[in-house]
Symmetry: C2
Subunit: 192 residues, 2 copies
Amino acid sequence: MENLKDRIKQDGQVLPGNVLKVNSFLNHQIDSDLMYEIGQEFAKRFDNEKITRILTVESSGIAPALMVGLALHVPVVFARKQKSAILNGEVYSAKVYSYTKQVENIVGIDKKFLQADDQVLIIDDFMANGEAVKGLVEIANQAQAKVVGVGIVIEKAFQNGGQALRQAGLRVESLAQIASFTDNQVHFLGEE
Amino acid sequence: MENLKDRIKQDGQVLPGNVLKVNSFLNHQIDSDLMYEIGQEFAKRFDNEKITRILTVESSGIAPALMVGLALHVPVVFARKQKSAILNGEVYSAKVYSYTKQVENIVGIDKKFLQADDQVLIIDDFMANGEAVKGLVEIANQAQAKVVGVGIVIEKAFQNGGQALRQAGLRVESLAQIASFTDNQVHFLGEE
């Protein structure tokens, strides 16, 4: 997705430790129109999959997931990072380690919102080691739902999350795949 | 907003302690098309206000805020509930007490994403005591930005948050105002 890549080059900040900060348009401030286009792009790529539900994790996954849900007219379920006082009853849950924040969270989804006949598309804003996606796949497996694909806005392709998921047979579509941050510049896969 | 009220009556669950659970369409599972309509409705109500930025708090505020941002073609900024490892630098922040979860959070917004010439619309999914909105107003004040209005999807009008904000001179628009939960039924303001 060329306009996304252009935006990353223009506004993304490369920080020490291979951290890419895109909080001016993706995950703190959100460019609503760009996010809409992101939703349309995922919907186009997964158009033939008869998706019935979108899964993501709070908070940064919600915006892209919602725009895909809107494009496909299906509900979006976001896993919560801890049981709130309101989230009683039975939940599917999985442990997710965040390397960025260096914390382990339990993410959970109310069992009412995931069924064995669901065709699930997992959406997230970022993927590096793929921990969040693996947690959501585990949750879908608990519900015996079928994961038909994974859509990632920005994949750090030099880390092993995407490779592991693809080798496990999952279809993973990333709108921007980062090959490296050499010289504090973002280089995408397939570029010279 | 009649179809929202119908949906609350149909799918909302009244729990002990005046808790309304609407997690099947608003804040755990999200009905994408209903959320789009919610965004359109807020955009219509605040159409003349020359809004430049939408403010909300993670996580449940993100979906309605994003749909308003999309309708008005302005950026959405969501306050984060704790400083992440990535959110370094200078932030505006305020304390917000959640009665539902019985915890106090610090919510923060990177100073880059709020300017003195901003015309801010605050959006949130729920308002009871108005703690989250007050925190966002405080943050906007720190930036010397102008809060032109507050849009709430569901207001518990029998609690004092909305009244306090309106008495302080703020324009507050709520799409569904709950008068009471008598006999485990949802009763809206203005109904018999």
